[in-house]
């Protein structure tokens, strides 16, 4: 905060804006954009890992494994993702607490679901009621991130599975004819070629993931939506240093611009990646290559 902001009632014009936009709550608002980016940075690799595991499990020759893979990949098909976003964090939270309850206080007998309540002993609460506020926030954030990763992992598994099937059979047969083992074929022929087919789907998935991040708000994380709503509310002169009317429209417009910008950057980056992966493929995209490089 700048020095002249000490008495907000006296500043006006540009100075007022400079003071207003650097209040502590505004700093938290700016930081919440980092929360969104952190969520993306954490969820994307995790979802890719789960996606790979799901796709490989689905294609496995062992029946129970492929059954798990099939269940996982089809779970997202008919149900809105938001149902999972709301369900998975609560379910995981209760699963953790239930496990801790069984281990930490075995002496407490009686059902955990008592009528309309979910009761575990105090020692099993997660995070402990004595913990700092930031522990609660971080815990909530990680639960949310896991929820996202599980749902998007299922999406990614579908895409990767489709891409693995799309690699021309002749390529794999040639590899076998050269005497490559199954493992060699998978790692050196199948997987590298899969990317070109998977990228359009994965790009789309990334876009969906970016656009799903405001749903964090529903999980109680203090994200951009929370702060935009809180900061935009009408502030009366009696209680606030910087009184203003209902500015939520402006704050939400800012979020819209932020998301449009992220979309725009991602689109440019991903189309470059696509050109790179198309290199040498016998597809229309691959034939277009010379222009792709020049760009």
């Amino acid at each position: 905060m700048m020095g002249f902001c000490a008495d907000p009632a006296t500043v006006e014009g540009v100075k007022w804006w400079m003071c207003y936009l650097t209040t502590n709550t505004h700093i938290s608002f700016y930081k919440s954009f980092l929360v969104v980016l952190a969520l993306l940075a954490l969820t994307a690799p995790l979802a890719m890992l789960l996606g790979f595991a799901g796709a490989l499990a689905r294609r496995s020759g062992i029946f129970p494994v492929s059954l798990i893979g099939h269940t996982y990949t089809s779970m997202v098909r008919g149900v809105p993702d938001i149902v999972f976003f709301l369900f998975i964090p609560i379910a995981m939270d209760q699963a953790f607490e239930l496990t801790r309850h069984k281990i930490l206080c075995p002496e407490v007998i009686g059902p955990v679901y008592q009528g309309n309540d979910f009761v575990v002993c105090t020692a099993a609460k997660l995070p402990l009621s004595t913990a700092d506020a930031w522990v609660h926030t971080t815990y909530g954030f990680f639960l949310a991130a896991f929820g996202f990763a599980i749902v998007f992992g299922a999406f990614a598994a579908n895409t990767i599975d489709g891409a693995l099937s799309a690699v021309p059979k002749a390529q794999l047969e040639t590899a076998a004819a050269y005497g490559m083992t199954k493992r060699q074929t998978f790692w050196q022929i199948h997987l590298p070629q899969m990317w070109g087919f998977a990228l359009p789907g994965l790009s789309n998935l990334w876009m969906i993931l970016v656009k799903a991040t405001p749903l964090l708000f529903l999980l109680g994380v203090e994200d951009v939506v929370y702060w935009a709503g809180a900061l935009g509310k009408t502030k009366t002169a009696a209680y606030f240093d910087y009184p203003h009317g209902d500015w939520r429209l402006g704050y939400f417009a800012m979020l819209l611009v932020f998301y449009l910008f992220v979309t725009w950057v991602s689109e440019n980056f991903l189309s470059r990646m696509q050109a790179k992966f198309n290199t040498g493929q016998a597809t229309i995209g691959g034939k277009k290559l010379p222009q792709g490089i020049a760009r």
Binding site: K211, G229, L249, F252
Partner: protein
């Protein structure tokens, strides 16, 4: 209270018919089923109306984007970019705040036999405001799908139409449009499924539920908060959505068969029952 009693009390609660008071204690499985199903009426209402209106608007936008006239193509491109590039969730918030700011105007629409008063304050209610946002959103997504299909219409078809002396609207209506629909139908089915799922967002975002008359998600959340047990209400709403999705796929499959009925059933591309998650 028997389950039949619950059904007669709550089956139409979400549209204001039946008992006002929601169950607070000793919530039964039947009550959860009935109330969440009752909320589903709203989800179906949003999906059907937004899809129906969006279909025509999307066709117009797609043609505008493909137009050589920059006055048409640039606004269409901007519209599509804004609605596809930003989260629907944020669009709901933004639209709600914008609608609140609209002047409280009333407008009389004379239908000849009766007069309807359209007021802007209705836009702040979910039934209209949410519908408008969903309509614009699905229009943008569908327009992009239709635009892609429009560009893939085989040149030969258009040359054949020209050779027959077809022009303007006749050419579009009889040659381009049917092929466009045929090509885009699998993706459009996907979009319809996504839109249906997106209806779950309306009441959990910014639009307030009036007199606790919300959609399925609203009641599911209500039960999750009241019973602290997400393992009942969320699977119920998931079940309802799966049934709805399957119905939607079935209906769109019928239309797909009709669109392609001139083709040999052997060649006729089956509508993919496995939607890919492209949105």
């Amino acid at each position: 209270m028997s389950c039949l009693q619950t059904i007669s009390d709550y089956a139409l609660r979400s549209i204001g018919i039946g008992k006002r008071l929601l169950p607070v204690e000793d919530i039964t499985l039947c009550e959860q089923f009935v109330l969440i199903g009752s909320g589903m009426i709203w989800n179906v209402y949003y999906a059907v109306l937004a899809l129906f209106a969006g279909f025509f608007f999307a066709t117009a936008i797609a043609l505008a984007k493909a137009s050589n006239n920059r006055l048409l193509s640039v606004p269409a491109k901007v519209f599509i970019f804004v609605f596809r590039g930003s989260p629907l969730f944020i669009q709901f918030f933004l639209a709600y705040e914008a609608f609140v700011f609209l002047p409280k105007l009333g407008m009389d629409i004379d239908l000849g036999f009766m007069t309807i008063t359209a007021e802007t304050r209705w836009l702040t209610k979910a039934w209209l405001g949410g519908l408008v946002v969903l309509f614009l959103n699905t229009s943008a997504y569908s327009a992009e799908i239709f635009y892609g299909a429009y560009n893939s219409v085989p040149k030969g078809d258009i040359e054949a139409a020209d050779a027959y002396g077809m022009q303007g609207f006749a050419k579009f209506r009889r040659v381009i449009w049917p092929t466009m629909l045929r090509l885009s139908w699998p993706s459009y089915t996907n979009e319809a499924i996504f839109l249906y799922h997106a209806t779950a967002l309306i009441f959990v975002s910014s639009f307030p539920a009036w007199r606790q008359m919300g959609d399925a998600m609203y009641y599911a959340r209500y039960f999750a908060q009241k019973t602290f047990n997400p393992f009942v209400c969320y699977p119920i709403i998931a079940g309802y959505f799966i049934v709805g999705t399957l119905t939607l796929i079935y209906v769109f499959g019928i239309i797909n068969r009709r669109l392609n009925k001139h083709l040999d059933p052997e060649i006729r591309s089956q509508l993919k029952l496995r939607p890919n998650f492209m949105r």
